[in-house]
Amino acid sequence: MRARGLTKRFGSFTAVDGIDFDLFRGEAFGFLGPNGAGKSSTMRMLGCVSPPTLGELTILGGNPVRDGAAIRARLGVVPQEDTLDSELSVRENLLVYGRYFGLPRKLINERTDQLLDFVQLTERADDMVEPLSGGMKRRLTIARSLINDPDILILDEPTTGLDPQARHVVWDRLFTLKQRGVTLILTTHYMDEAEQLCDRLVVMDHGTIAAEGTPRELIDRYSTPEVLELRFAPDQRDVAVEKIKDLSPERTELTADRMLIYAADGDEFLKRVRLAGLTPLTELVRRSTLEDVFLHLTGRTLVD
């Protein structure tokens, strides 16, 4: 998959503004960015249901405008909003999808059994979709997207709206798919999700790509190894911020409730803060994450 100058405009609004990327077989590639960064528009173009306004896009050797249907035959798509048919049973949802791809009934049944087992929904096979939990519906959507044995699986915010436990189950299943050689393309605004799943990712903001690399590379390039997070009482905050700047940290960021100090050694810097006579309400030394990369690149947090 290859994109050059890929652009999508809706009227005068530019959702995706000339992005370039290459994607290789078997890798897990992520688009990380806040809501409205252009991730979903990009996913729709990659899913061949949204013709690019400008630029060049090649998927599986085909042109998505000319060969859209043939490319889609080799894709699996997990949309952001569930499009399961709630009037049908779990099994019937897979049957309907298998039929779209023209698979024979026997093969659909075989794959349905395998896939429901894979997403741990075997006991719910003949239940209706409506009463399933959000996590189960998402897993069912993933199972449905695999019915045609796709080469590429496109997931638009696969765990948004799920509780932590359900997210971990989804991650575990996606990780297994990746190990089996399915190419994964996913969008997320969770940096932990991107770190967990992606071999390589791009950070998107305002329709453009702000940075590209492996999670490790991005952290090395755009952040320090450690981050010191401090909270001060509101009346001491301004004084504390000034004093800490005098200690010449590599970089600081202020968020709504915390001060982030980027340093090679967080504990060492914390000692210096204490020596300067400051007493934070809370303190935390942690490793840098993609959240810090994003904050550095855009000056904003990922999830507002």
Partner: protein, 277 residues
């Protein structure tokens, strides 16, 4: 583990050849069948009993009054015989509109069947034609039921009536193709009430359904001739009464086919515009 999820070889991927449009449309159609298997019970009463009530009230109730005054203007047949094929057409129109508007809108906004289907190799035009196949099936089923009732009540006067079901289905399809083409473009559901309130009701009243068009003021008649329902009614009535005349029937059929063709063309465009955003 499962063969579906087995390690895949590093062979280069080649894009598959697409099946024919007809094949793809049938795939979309079969999915509507899966759903219909779950929901058909709720639709039976409205689609079978509704027209029967009409036939009872208009044909037999009102009909007794009409027949007292002589039915020369109706072609000398009892009112119920005159009105039955027209009610058949009205039913075809109504089941076309009810199947081609709200479910089409729902395919994008409610159950999102269209959105789910567009992620597969089905193209918008396949999704449209597949849904039309299902709508045609529903119209045909409703019409066939009604024709059976007509026969049972002895309201059919000619062997030409074997063509009543396809003629009525064609009438319905002439409404369904443009209605679906339009409903898919909507962003809220309110406008779908207008074709029913300002479209099908006046059509039902003034298309030669309950009284011959010759009773209308002369200046308004061309308007009635221009409506699809009039062509459907004229065609079905001639088949049922055995007054078929090849020339008029050909005009009626040509008009309805042309409207279907126009609808199909519009629908392929509007579906593509709506689903490929």
């Amino acid at each position: 583990m499962a063969e579906t999820l087995a390690e895949r070889p590093a062979a280069p991927v080649t894009l598959p050849n697409l099946p024919t449009s007809w094949n793809l449309s049938v795939r979309a159609f079969r999915c509507w069948l899966v759903m219909y298997r779950r929901t058909w019970r709720s639709s039976v009463w409205s689609s079978v009993l509704g027209p029967l009530f009409y036939l009872g009230a208009m044909g037999y109730g009102l009909g007794t009054l009409v027949d007292k005054n002589g039915t020369a203007a109706l072609g000398g047949v009892p009112y119920v015989v005159f009105v039955a094929p027209a009610i058949l057409c009205v039913q075809a129109m109504n089941s076309a509109l009810s199947n081609a508007m709200f479910p089409v809108y729902g395919g994008i906004h409610w159950n999102k069947i269209y959105i789910a289907a567009r992620a597969t190799l089905l193209r918008p035009a396949d999704i449209y034609r597949g849904h039309l196949l299902f709508i045609t099936m529903r119209i045909t089923m409703n019409c066939a039921c009604f024709v059976v009732f007509m026969a049972a009540f002895g309201l059919i006067k000619s062997p030409w009536a074997v063509l009543l079901v396809p003629a009525a289905a064609l009438t319905g399809l002439a409404f369904a193709t443009p209605a679906a083409a339009w409903a898919v473009t909507l962003h809220n559901q309110t406008p779908m009430n207008y074709p029913i309130r300002f479209g099908s009701v006046p059509l039902m009243l003034f298309s030669g359904t309950f009284f011959p068009i010759s009773r209308l003021p002369e200046w308004i008649r061309p308007l009635a001739y221009a409506t699809p329902l009039w062509h459907g009614v004229a065609l079905c009535r001639s088949l049922s009464l055995g007054t078929v005349d090849a020339g008029s029937a050909a005009i009626n059929v040509a008009y309805l086919v042309a409207l279907c063709g126009l609808g199909l063309w519009l629908g392929s465009r509007s579906y593509a515009r709506r689903l490929y955003v």
